[in-house]
């Protein structure tokens, strides 16, 4: 085995801690990216998953958590899953798992969603899923994946039969998501919504806020009032200026 330099050793440790990958996988990814940590993540995530999940085990797992009288995992089952995984139900990693499962609704997993989702990430036991949590959490670092997860969250968190997302739910989701991205204006945004808006959030506004976060600097120097932003975002900008916050 090659004797690694101290810097390289640190990078391997860091990569393993973030992704939960094996030392071998970490070494492969880092070498392929010429020892750049960010590049290594890209290499690692772009590779197809090799593991093949055991369907029978997944069936047993599903049956363990599903409702006794319905073919669906619901609140109690999900709570149990979180207990077994030793994660808080509010943890954002549950959102990532739900995204993999393509869950239609918060707090519900159909058989297809549960089994198909776990297969897609190559796990067939709680232990394996638990071991996978760091790498699932790390997916939020990837811009493209974050973007998909963010937009997935809108329909997932929405009440059944509703077109818009309830304000309190939207605020909760935004706080959860932007804890991962450190948007300086998140607190002002939530405050503004409660003070000035106090209504449900449309899908378009939800999607466009992420564009706003990505493209407009926190001082709003490049904000364009004729830039086709949703009116709510226009109002937010006015709110910031009125209060001397930008």
């Amino acid at each position: 085995m090659h004797k690694l330099g101290r810097g390289s050793r640190d990078k391997v440790q860091q990569f393993m801690a973030i992704t939960g990958a094996s030392e071998k996988a970490a070494l492969q990814a880092l070498k392929a990216s010429d020892w750049h940590l960010e590049g290594a993540f890209d290499v690692f995530y772009s590779q197809p998953q090799i593991a093949v999940a055991n369907t029978r085990h997944l069936e047993e797992l599903y049956n363990r958590y599903k409702e006794p009288d319905a073919d669906m995992i619901m609140v109690e089952g999900i709570s149990q899953i979180c207990n077994d995984l030793q994660v808080d139900p509010q943890d954002i990693v549950m959102l990532v798992i739900s995204w993999h499962m393509k869950a239609s609704t918060m707090c519900e997993f159909t058989r297809q969603e549960f089994i198909g989702g776990l297969q897609s990430i190559g796990v067939d036991s709680i232990e394996k899923l638990q071991a996978k949590l760091p790498s699932l959490r790390a997916e939020l670092k990837d811009d493209q994946k974050f973007h998909e997860i963010y937009n997935f969250a809108f329909a997932w968190a929405r009440e059944k039969g509703q077109k818009s997302l309830a304000l309190e739910t939207a605020i909760g989701m935004w706080q959860l998501l932007f804890a991962e991205r450190s948007w300086p204006l998140i607190d002002y945004w939530c405050q503004f919504l409660q003070v000035r808006h106090n209504k449900a959030i449309s899908r378009d506004t939800w999607a466009q806020l992420l564009e706003f976060v990505k493209t407009i600097d926190p001082q709003l120097t490049n904000y364009d009032e004729e830039g086709a932003w949703p009116y709510l975002i226009d109002e937010f900008v006015d709110y910031l200026k009125e209060n001397g916050l930008a």
């Binding site: 449309s202 999607a207 004729e226 830039g227 086709a228």
Partner: protein
């Protein structure tokens, strides 16, 4: 061979040679010849030409040219003429005072005559030697010598300028001068060459003129009103033009005009136009057509002159208009308000027509000014509608339909200025409804004429519901006739006659549905009508609107007087109660009729408190109506007229809450229109960017109202929400239409 007789004689060739005249050059030839010419020229200049032989002199010159003495001859001629001119100059310079120009003129005439003769004598040289050698022809050469020897001599040149300019100055200050002498002098300068006239006279003339008019304008502007000043300027322009036609070159006219314009008008333009108490604004206010015409005509010569006048006029109209439309006092009388606008428009139309040559740029400026200030008052749409209502009601003093038509055409011009035509439409519908339903419309033809004007201006959609109102009334007549035709046998002989107006929901302004308790006599007929109507119109619903409508009631008062009262439906309900009661309290009336309190109080005030119309008596006699106040028939009621009209509700300008409600309804009505416009645009474009949609929607809706960009944006978001539109996946500013 036979030989001819006589023998061959050779022919002799004879040659005739021309006669050769041997001429030897006489050493004295030139001198002798020139002597002849010299002496002759002297005699010519001394007015003694009559003794000369033209033929001999011509031949002398001719022979000199033939003998190659042309150059010497030309030079000698020059010296000789110069000598004569120098003698003339001495005489001219010696002339005293006023005789200077006369002497100059006399010598000029002499010189011209002499030149004519000399040219004739030297004609052969002019035709041969001079063109060949590119010399100046004799006559022109003589003129040049006059120019250089006399006109531009140091002593004469300055004196000539001074004399001419002094005479012009005296003429400008009122003296009569010898114009003929001026004319011949300036003509002399022109004959010497246009550049001589321009350099030796015109340029100093223009400079001195500029100085003169600069001084005069300074003096006048201090002591004259604007009108007086402009009159003076006009007079000066005329004088200068006349001077040119009298004794200056025609081309000078443009130049001297420019000088006067610059010194008297352009340099003082702002001060004149803005002059306090007499400037443009005062002229406009006081309708001083003559002064305005003069100002327009004069400043037409000035760069930016008309633009400045137009600008000041616009400012004044906007200020005046703004005062008019924002004066709280004016807002109390909508009809007067609009009449003042019409008067103001007439006033400026007249000024532009009479004084400003119907100048298109001024008409456009007037139109944009009106559009600017009329929309400063967001009640203008309502007031214009009320004005039309006033004109279209019966009893209006308008003498004839032609005058009415003229007034309506003028009102349409004001309408054209409105930016919120949809707000006007809403009010117009309300007011039209009241006219039609109260029977107050003066003339069907006039009403329809107005509708045609509105349709022409804004299109079919704008007036379709209004036309629906007329259709409803026509249909109602037919229905009522049908009702009586089919049920007359079922009705008691003394049943009241009823006329019903059936109003299609949606065509008429929204009305709260107020039903009161109708008198039994009315109920029986109305229920029969309901049965008839619903029987012939399956699926319809019929709701009575008792807050509208009128009634004619025959009354016999206690004193025996009989009258026919024209009252509202509510008033009828109240009056009928007194057939079976002598005295009723307010509370009792309210309970019996179920008329809403506000309406009922207004109704009772009309019946009991209006002087000359008091068919009821109220106890106590106060304006306010309390629950325990009592009412009874006024047995002492008298009136000169048999038919007495108790006041009905006339269209009034809205109270503030009503106004707010109307505006909110208009704003709500705009949303679907904006949305429909967006859908139309996207359906045809399929893909379009945000700013183009904003522009396109605004353009489409502008004839009716100016859409609010924020509302457009919200409508776009709503359409996205409802899956009519989506954002492009790669360009968030681009929208796609979803079929």
């Amino acid at each position: 061979m036979l030989n001819g007789g006589g023998g061959g004689q050779k022919k002799r060739n004879t040659k005739i040679e021309p006669y050769r005249h041997r001429v030897e050059t006489d050493p004295k030839f030139f001198d002798k010849s020139w002597r002849k010419l010299h002496d002759a020229i002297r005699e010519i200049y001394n007015h003694n030409a009559s003794g000369l032989s033209f033929e001999e002199l011509y031949r002398t010159a001719y022979n000199m040219v033939l003998n190659k003495f042309a150059p010497q001859l030309y030079e000698k001629l020059t010296e000789n003429m110069k000598g004569h001119l120098e003698e003339m100059r001495t005489c001219i310079e010696a002339a005293q005072g006023g005789l200077f120009l006369e002497e100059l003129q006399r010598k000029w005439n002499d010189h011209n005559k002499a030149l004519t003769m000399i040219r004739d004598i030297l004609m052969y040289m002019d035709r041969t030697y001079i063109p060949t050698n590119k010399k100046t022809p004799v006559f022109e050469h003589g003129l040049e010598l006059w120019r250089d020897t006399i006109v531009r001599s140091p002593m004469i040149q300055g004196r000539l300028f001074d004399t001419l300019l002094e005479l012009i100055h005296r003429e400008r200050t009122g003296d009569v001068i010898n114009r003929g002498l001026m004319r011949t002098t300036t003509k002399m300068l022109m004959d010497l060459g246009l550049s001589v006239y321009q350099d030796d006279f015109e340029r100093p003339f223009l400079e001195v003129s500029a100085s003169f008019y600069s001084g005069e304008s300074q003096q006048f502007i201090e002591c004259c009103t604007c009108g007086e000043y402009l009159k003076q300027a006009e007079r000066r322009l005329h004088e200068e033009s006349e001077r040119v036609s009298q004794y200056l070159d025609a081309k000078t006219n443009e130049k001297i005009t420019a000088v006067v314009v610059k010194e008297m008008l352009a340099n003082h333009m702002q001060r004149l136009i803005l002059m306090e108490n007499s400037g443009l604004v005062n002229m406009l206010v006081e309708d001083r057509y003559e002064d305005l015409t003069r100002m327009y005509t004069l400043f037409n010569h000035v760069p930016d002159g008309l633009a400045t006048i137009r600008s000041v006029m616009v400012s004044h109209i906007k200020d005046t208009g703004k005062s008019l439309v924002t004066d709280p006092e004016r807002l109390k009388d909508p009809v007067d308000f609009v009449q003042r606008l019409l008067n103001m428009k007439d006033k400026y139309d007249n000024i532009i027509n009479v004084s400003f040559s119907n100048d298109k740029s001024f008409l456009n400026a007037l139109n944009s000014s009106f559009e600017n200030f009329i929309n400063l008052n967001n009640r203008s749409p309502e007031f214009i509608s009320l004005f039309v209502d006033d004109k279209l009601r019966k009893g209006v003093k308008e003498a004839n339909e032609e005058d009415l038509e003229t007034v309506l055409d003028k009102v349409m011009m004001l309408f054209r200025y409105l930016q919120e035509k949809d707000l006007f439409e809403k009010y117009y519908k309300q007011h039209l409804a009241k006219r039609l339903l109260s029977g107050k419309a003066a003339s069907d033809d006039s009403e329809r004429s107005m509708l045609v004007k509105l349709k022409t201006e804004c299109g079919y959609q704008f007036t379709s519901k209004l036309e629906g109102m007329f259709t409803d009334l026509k249909t109602s007549q037919d229905t009522t006739q049908g009702f009586y035709a089919s049920t007359s046998s079922e009705l008691p002989a003394d049943a009241p006659t009823m006329s019903v107006q059936i109003l299609t929901t949606g065509s008429w302004p929204t009305q709260t549905c107020n039903t009161c308790n109708l008198p039994p006599e009315i109920v029986s007929v109305s229920e029969k009508f309901r049965s008839y109507y619903l029987g012939t119109h399956n699926g319809r619903r019929l709701t009575w609107q008792t807050n509208m409508g009128t009634a004619d009631i025959k009354v016999t008062f206690g004193n025996g007087s009989k009258h026919e009262l024209n009252v509202s439906t509510y008033q009828m309900c109240v009056l009928m109660l007194f057939n079976s009661a002598d005295v009723l309290t307010y509370r009792e009336i309210e309970q019996s009729t179920a008329i809403p309190a506000a309406d009922l109080k207004r109704c009772l005030q009309s019946l009991a408190l209006v002087k000359g119309k008091q068919v009821l008596r109220k106890e106590p006699m106060s304006r306010d109506i309390a629950d325990d106040d009592s009412f009874c028939v006024n047995d002492k009621f008298t009136s000169k007229l048999f038919k007495v009209k108790i006041g009905t509700v006339v269209a009034q300008k809205e109270t503030d809450p009503e106004k707010l409600e109307t505006r909110q309804r208009v704003e709500e009505d705009r949303k679907p229109q904006i949305e429909a416009a967006i859908v139309r645009i996207m359906k045809s474009r399929r893909v379009l960017d945000h700013n183009s949609i904003m522009t396109e929607v605004t353009k489409q809706l502008q004839p009716r109202f100016m859409p609010n960009p924020v509302v457009i944006k919200k409508r776009i978001e709503s359409l996205i929400e409802r899956d009519f539109l989506e954002r492009d996946k790669t360009d968030r500013k681009m929208y796609r239409y979803l079929a």
